[in-house]
């Protein structure tokens, strides 16, 4: 009996040690939940640091930092605590990180990420947790189908962008009659395609053909062959990033450019151009949410501050977006003189002003920021003043999306 008792004691001891081990492990993993200090407002920037858009994350973050440095990390009487998380360009992981940061750091404002698919997940987290969310990117669902009181969009609406591209292309190429479309095969691409098909006739342009390619596609020879067979006056690309760069490279290989132009309708500008060889970039028209040569108040200081951080490379759309998102968030807080998301949102609705991209107005009904979309043309190599003097802005346009095309029925309440 004693041996059984000692056996029981031993197994009890083992259990006790096991529990102690578990507690030790838990302590090691301990992540103290901090609610924000009274005089602090916590803003989360969720950016792609790893994964397919790893090159954009640091640039977006840099833009944000410049905006914060301009106000000395203070707003509405509070200190700003800016934290970042890696979105990995995986919607599920980003949602986890956003939620985790809200729980453990007391985040009240979220900006980012880069990818629309991830943004659509983050916006759900923002809505559920009632934190303000400002995104800059392609999907119009943020201010359309999936609009809600807490979400705002900084980038120009897809309609605005396509209208600008077509209008300005025709203005500078009055003899052009037909365009061939390369469309990235997912919801955002289809939306832009739909808009181009609606707008092209208005500007006297016919669509010679359309080809949809998978996102992340690298091999465009087949699409290019099809396109060139229709002899279009331009290839109009509804894609971006590496897809666009690969297509441009191969269009150049096939001899389409520089004889005929290629339109990159939704481009990051500098970030994409920098990855191309000068010969490859000849005769490109690109539409972008930001190009650094724009002459507006506040732009020069932004560009100078950015060049100091980047070793001389001018900012493209990515840092422009980071900067813009933080500027707008801070503006809302300044106008409301508060860091309460509800008050900031109310201050932003209907707000009009002028900043580094030009005149802006925030539509109170769907929270879309109506602002200029830039269309630029690349310069020939011999006309470049320095190795980053890629292009000249041809024109800007901020035609708002028609009301009947916007799918935000009811933005809802708080």
């Amino acid at each position: 009996m004693i041996s059984r008792l000692s056996e029981k004691l031993r197994s009890l001891r083992t259990m006790g040690l096991s529990m102690a081990g578990a507690a030790a492990l838990a302590t090691v993993m301990f992540l103290p939940t901090q609610s924000a200090a009274e005089e602090e407002v916590v803003i989360l920037g969720i950016w792609p640091i790893t994964g397919p858009y790893a090159d954009m994350g640091p640039l977006l973050d840099r833009g944000v930092e410049i905006a914060l440095e301009e106000v000395g990390y203070k707003v509405a009487g509070k200190k700003i605590k800016y934290i970042t998380r890696d979105s990995e360009t995986k919607a599920g992981t980003a949602a986890r990180r956003a939620q985790g940061a809200i729980d453990s750091e007391g985040v009240k404002f979220i900006i980012g990420p880069w990818s629309s698919g991830v943004a659509l997940a983050v916006t759900e987290v923002a809505k559920k947790n009632k934190v303000m969310y400002y995104f800059s990117g392609g999907t119009e669902d943020i201010t359309g189908k999936r609009c809600h009181k807490y979400a705002f969009m900084w980038a120009a609406n897809a309609w605005t962008a396509m209208d600008a591209n077509l209008k300005i292309f025709k203005k500078f190429n009055p003899d052009a009659k037909s365009i061939y479309l390369f469309v990235v095969d997912y919801a955002f691409g289809w939306t832009l395609q739909k808009y181009v098909e609606k707008l092209a006739p208005k500007y006297g342009l016919k669509i010679a053909g359309v080809d949809r390619h998978p996102l992340g596609h690298r091999e465009y020879s087949s699409f290019i062959t099809k396109a060139m067979a229709t002899k279009p006056d331009a290839v109009y690309m509804i894609n971006f990033g590496l897809d666009a760069i690969s297509a441009v490279r191969q269009l150049y290989n096939f001899g389409f450019t520089p004889k005929k132009p290629v339109i990159l309708s939704w481009s990051a500008g500098v970030e994409e151009l920098v990855q191309m060889d000068p010969a490859m970039r000849a005769n490109l028209q690109f539409g972008t949410n930001y190009y650094y040569t724009v002459d507006t108040p506040g732009n020069k200081s932004f560009v100078d501050a950015y060049k100091k951080k980047s070793g001389g490379i001018p900012p493209g759309y990515a840092p422009g977006a980071g900067y813009g998102l933080m500027k707008m968030t801070l503006l809302g807080m300044q106008k409301a003189n508060s860091t309460d998301p509800k008050k900031v949102i109310q201050a932003l609705e209907g707000l009009k002003g002028k900043n580094f991209v030009g005149d802006f107005a925030i539509n109170g009904r769907n929270h879309q920021t109506v602002r200029p979309y830039f269309v630029a043309r690349t310069k020939p190599e011999d006309k470049m003043a320095n190795k980053y003097d890629f292009a000249t802005i041809q024109d800007i346009s901020s035609t708002e999306q028609p009301r009947d095309l916007n799918q935000c029925q009811d933005i809802g309440g708080f």
Binding site: I49, A91, R96, R97, A121, Y186
Partner: protein, 306 residues
């Protein structure tokens, strides 16, 4: 270490966890803990390395998500979602178990790619790249604590169920097949049928975990059905240790914890994950379980030394 003790440790973790980490992190650890343990039924017990389990996780999530959006109650959505995955996994598994080794890996990968393509293209149903949004939670589970308790209960129930299965004769036969498939066949077992059974069981529990995941953020993102997620599942299972039933739970916990922690400190954190994995594969093939065993053993020896 006795299974009952390990189970108590797991229980302690489930209870203490939400107090030391954000609830969402622990919830994901439990959900993916189910997946990792289920995956081990194939890897550790039957010797089948599938590079496609994300397809079942994703499909479970999509089906449950759609049913919940259509207004079905939880008691219908989750079981139906799981049942759908069960039936699908029998069909997919039938083709996959015809081959072994590298071929098995490649065909599970090929199926994963095909389902990913369907999810990506059938935007009317799945939302495509934008994910399936607006999945409601039953009002009982709206509170984060209530939801966590629900997930914990599902997690523990799945563990008990899977433990029963692997401790049964079926589990033993699977292990025999892993050790020596030709001998098992010679003795008279229908190897392919048992492999299919293991495949189906593992995939069904993975799908069940998926149905729960759909309610976590109210959205099913497309990356949950991507082949890289299948790679994550393998990583979790192996990290924890395939030789022990409970090992993969620690793998899921460890993987998510490392991913959350390392990403805070270094932009190139996947490199560290890669190194951890290399260390595990070269020196610590039993995973975290082996590590714990070694530490425990050296503590034991130190105490016994005169």
């Amino acid at each position: 270490m006795r299974d009952r003790n390990i189970f108590l440790i797991v229980l302690a973790f489930v209870v203490i966890g939400p107090f030391v980490q954000p609830k969402v992190i622990i919830t994901e650890m439990l959900i993916f803990g189910i997946v990792a343990v289920a995956n081990n039924i194939m890897i550790g017990y039957t010797g089948m390395l599938s590079f496609g389990q994300a397809m079942f996780f994703g499909i479970g999530a999509y089906v449950a998500g759609l049913l919940l959006k259509a207004g079905m109650p939880l008691i219908v959505a989750l079981p139906v979602g799981t049942l759908f995955v069960l039936v699908l996994s029998i069909a997919v598994g039938y083709f996959c178990v015809q081959r072994t080794g590298l071929y098995f890996i490649c065909i599970t990968f090929a199926f994963n790619q095909m389902f990913y393509f369907i999810a990506y293209s059938w935007t009317g149903l799945t939302g495509g790249e934008d994910g399936l949004p607006g999945i409601p939670r039953p009002s009982l589970l709206l509170d984060p604590v209530a939801f966590y308790v629900f997930v914990a209960v599902v997690f523990l129930a799945c563990l008990v169920a899977m433990k029963r299965i692997v401790d049964s004769p079926l589990g033993l036969i699977c292990q025999t097949i892993r050790e020596n498939p030709s001998r098992a066949a010679a003795v008279g077992y229908n190897v392919k049928l048992y492999k299919l059974t293991a495949f189906t069981i593992a995939s069904t529990f993975t799908g069940l975990a998926g149905t729960v995941y759909a309610m976590l953020y109210g959205i099913v993102p497309i990356d949950q059905i991507h082949w890289l997620k299948s790679g994550d599942f393998i990583f979790m299972t192996l990290l924890g240790g395939t030789g022990n039933f409970f090992g993969p739970i620690m793998g899921a916990v460890g993987y998510i914890w490392m991913s959350e922690t390392f990403s805070l400190y270094w932009a190139r954190w996947p490199l560290i994950m890669g190194i951890v994995f290399v260390v595990v594969v070269l020196y610590l093939r039993g995973g975290i379980v082996e590590l714990i065993g070694k530490v425990y053993g050296s503590i034991q020896r130190a105490r016994e030394a005169p």
